[in-house]
């Protein structure tokens, strides 16, 4: 039924969210949950939409003057919630503050480490000088929320979390926060842009999927995120509920140990250790990739809530490889490849994955094992709680593991995950299997400093192609994110491809 008071701004919105921010300090912890939640109170200079395209926010316009100088112009008349006007110096303050947030478990430093100086031009314009050429500098500012030197000088994380200094330029104002439980917001009447017409927003953190869905169905909640795939169909059919979804920037992939001569958890079919590592052979990796029924996984396990992978980079990344067909199952070819590689009988393998890290992770891993088994690779599955999974993966304890990475920037994806690991330059921090491929490294490193957009994209695609050819990772699928809301009460238009709920995108109907 439609509410008579619809869109009059008098309706509250009650959200059930899968996870909770750990603080209201926008520079304390760089995570999608924190970023999405705080995006309601604070604004970045630039933002990224659901297709990975950058859009102006606090910055009205920007351009690179040369390889190390970027000029930004702020939107006029922006004020913080307490009335303090936004000035270019606040950008300088924000960048100064980032490295000085104590005890951060994951700070925004990587975004600002390259900044050499901020130069104020006038009351709206400023320049950012970088230490080395960085064609992605604007992208680095999409998650960095701007604070005010006047308001926030000397602010500690606790001051934000308590609400005292949770003062931003965003569409909503702080109205209450209990760590791990809920956050309450009210509209910012002085917002420069349009605010969704909610009288009040209460987001409760409900990690259990069943509880979120039940909360929606029982009317306790108006909008939920992280709708489990198995509930999408019946919620879609439900007359009182509407589903909203977006293709995510997440790529779920298998990471084989292709570099060591001997890998753990690889055996012959009888369970005896092998004297060489079959995963080092590109044909074996290829065979494994061909054994996976990606379509089946997406259709049967994810119930259509995703896309079978055709390459490593996810669809919202503008610079991914064009015109790729999804990788089809080809058991015959896979077996042939195995035989060519010297494993006509197959071998034994244990594959690992996290449990409860992303939708369907456990089920998908089993389905992958099903596929592997079908080509003669006798596969065992071991899922681990994330608490131990990532540490063990980092310690190179696995032969092949399933995980995800989310970004709309293929260059970043490659640099973080598959670029040859280098402690000095900090390259490949997530290259847990120590993958190294010169044919990938060369074009990628060149692209990372290239200001010519077209050439850069071409180089990135070269790198992606090199990875594809070598099957350095085995991409599996790209999930879809779903929200469910009360039909006729709320409409949710996801503004980016990272999941999590942000009331800025929720409109009353």
């Amino acid at each position: 039924q439609s509410n008579p008071a619809a869109s009059s701004g008098s309706r509250p919105l009650s959200i059930g969210a899968i996870s909770a921010p750990n603080s209201l300090d926008p520079h304390f912890y760089q995570s999608p949950t924190n970023n999405q939640t705080l995006r309601q109170i604070f604004d970045p200079l630039v933002t990224e939409d659901a297709t990975g395209t950058l859009r102006p926010l606090l910055a009205e316009s920007w351009r690179a003057l040369d390889e190390t100088t970027w000029e930004f112009k702020l939107r006029p008349g922006i004020r913080f919630h307490d009335g303090t006007p936004l000035t270019p110096d606040d950008i300088a303050y924000t960048i100064e503050r980032v490295p000085n947030v104590p005890n951060s478990p994951g700070s925004f430093v990587p975004y600002v480490r390259n900044v050499a100086a901020v130069e104020v031009i006038d009351d709206r314009g400023f320049r950012i000088r970088s230490k080395t050429p960085n064609p992605f500098l604007d992208r680095d500012f999409t998650n960095l929320y701007i604070l005010s030197r006047k308001i926030h000088a000397g602010a500690e994380t606790a001051d934000f979390t308590s609400g005292k200094l949770a003062i931003g330029t965003g569409a909503f104002r702080y109205a209450g926060f209990t760590v791990g439980q809920q956050i309450e917001l009210e509209p910012n009447p002085a917002y420069w842009g349009r605010t969704p017409g909610w009288s009040r927003i209460r987001t409760r953190f409900i990690p259990d999927a069943g509880a979120r869905v039940a909360g929606l169905l029982s009317g306790d909640l108006d909008l939920i995120d992280g709708v489990p795939v198995q509930d999408v169909a019946h919620l879609t059919a439900d007359k009182k509920v509407e589903i909203f979804s977006v293709a995510s920037a997440t790529s779920a992939y298998l990471f084989p140990d292709a570099s060591r001569d001997q890998a753990p958890f690889v055996t012959d079919r009888a369970g005896r250790p092998l004297d060489r590592n079959p995963l080092k052979d590109v044909r074996v990796r290829q065979a494994l990739s061909l054994a996976i029924d990606r379509k089946g996984i997406v259709e049967r396990l994810l119930l259509g809530q995703g896309t079978p992978a055709d390459q490593f980079a996810p669809p919202p990344a503008p610079d991914r490889l064009p015109n790729r067909a999804p990788i089809a199952v080809d058991v015959a070819r896979a077996k042939r490849l195995l035989t060519e590689a010297g494993y006509p009988e197959g071998f034994g393998l244990t594959i690992h994955g996290p449990s409860g890290f992303f939708t369907g992770d456990v089920a998908v891993l089993q389905a992958i094992a099903q596929g592997f088994s079908r080509i003669g690779v006798e596969t065992k599955v071991e899922t681990l709680p994330i608490a131990t999974f990532f540490s063990r993966a980092t310690n190179r304890e696995f032969a092949l593991f399933l995980t995800t990475y989310a970004t709309t920037n293929s260059a970043e994806l490659l640099r973080q995950v598959v670029l040859t690991k280098d402690q000095e330059t900090g390259a490949g921090p997530f290259n847990r299997q120590r993958y190294s491929n010169p044919k990938l490294d060369a074009p990628l490193l060149a692209a990372l400093g290239d200001f010519d957009a077209d050439r850069r994209v071409a180089r990135i695609r070269d790198a992606l192609a090199a990875l594809e050819e070598d099957v350095g990772v085995i991409p599996v699928f790209y999930p879809r994110f779903n929200w469910a809301g009360r039909k006729g009460y709320v409409r949710f238009v996801p503004g980016n491809a990272f999941g999590h709920t942000n009331a800025v995108f929720a409109e009353p109907v």
Partner: protein
């Protein structure tokens, strides 16, 4: 009840039955107990014979087909004829999965009860003996150890065990034993303390029998009834805890689901109406528990020669 026992012995001696026969006769006197035992044995037999009677080996990934996932009961499948109880998301025949899961749950539940029971009982007896005869230092130490266990959440213990040793059925068993021994230790200790004060124990001391002999031959059998009660609930608790661990992603391997894991997995399909995925394993678990508890109750009574007949 003393009046009852004054009912003297029969003038003509009964044929002497071996103690086990007597136990059985007393046990079998209850029809409910016999029924429960039959159900229990049936379930055990089904579990043991699972590899031969199940239509499918649900632990063998090559026998599963994603395309048969989440079929309702009675559906025809590509790989196995009819899925009488439907399939789960991986295309596992639920009937086979329940049979195999029963195996694991029995192993985990009864295995942990047996091991933890033996260990805990031993600890409890030693503690009681120390309290009754030797000033109780060992008792204090052991009971504080039990406190340590009892105040440490079982889930955390399980996490640590699995962190140390990896996920696996054996490790789940170990975790459950670590979690449970203290219950038995406390129960055995308090029962043994009562028994150690009994006159027949004193009589045994008078016969210059050693303490360990008295503990094992006299005290332990008399503590058994209360331990049997604990054991029946602890089997339930172990299976439930294993299910909870699975729910939290810490239980048995996902490709070899126990009943608890099947229920945990099926839980996510309850709202979407695919209730069979968790319902049938739940019914199997319920049946198992009811059989164990009812048979256990009767067994405890049968263990008591006074209540026999």
């Amino acid at each position: 009840m003393s009046s009852l026992t004054e009912d003297g012995p029969p003038s003509a001696p009964l044929p002497s039955l071996s103690p086990l026969r007597v136990l059985w006769r007393d046990f079998a006197a209850s029809r409910v107990a016999l029924g429960s035992l039959a159900v229990f044995l049936l379930l055990v037999a089904a579990a043991v014979l699972a590899p031969w009677i199940a239509p499918q080996n649900p632990f063998d990934l090559t026998q599963l087909d994603l395309l048969d996932g989440r079929l309702p009961p009675g559906a025809e499948g590509a790989l196995v004829g009819t899925y009488w109880l439907g399939t789960d998301d991986q295309g596992r025949d639920m009937l086979s999965a329940i049979l195999f899961g029963l195996r694991l749950s029995l192993l985990v539940g009864i295995g942990s009860a047996v091991v933890a029971g033996a260990l805990g009982t031993l600890v409890g007896l030693v503690a009681a003996q120390s309290r009754a005869q030797a000033g109780g230092r060992a008792d204090t130490a052991l009971m504080r150890l039990a406190d340590l266990q009892l105040s440490c959440p079982s889930i955390l213990i399980a996490l640590m065990v699995i962190a140390f040793l990896g996920r696996g059925t054996g490790n789940v068993l170990l975790a459950l034993v670590l979690v449970e021994w203290a219950y038995y230790a406390r129960a055995a200790r308090s029962a043994a303390l009562v028994e150690l004060k009994a006159e027949y124990v004193e009589a045994a001391r008078g016969l210059v029998l050693p303490s360990w002999w008295i503990l094992l031959r006299h005290v332990l059998p008399n503590c058994l009834p209360s331990l049997v009660v604990i054991a029946t609930t602890q089997v339930a608790r172990a299976i439930a805890l294993e299910a909870t661990l699975s729910f939290l992603g810490l239980g048995v391997p996902v490709t070899e689901p126990s009943l608890g894991l099947l229920i945990a997995n099926g839980r996510q399909y309850v709202l979407s109406g695919e209730t069979w995925i968790s319902l049938y394993p739940g019914v199997a678990l319920l049946l198992l528990m009811a059989a164990i508890n009812l048979a256990g109750d009767r067994f405890r009574d049968a263990l008591n020669p006074r209540l026999g007949q």
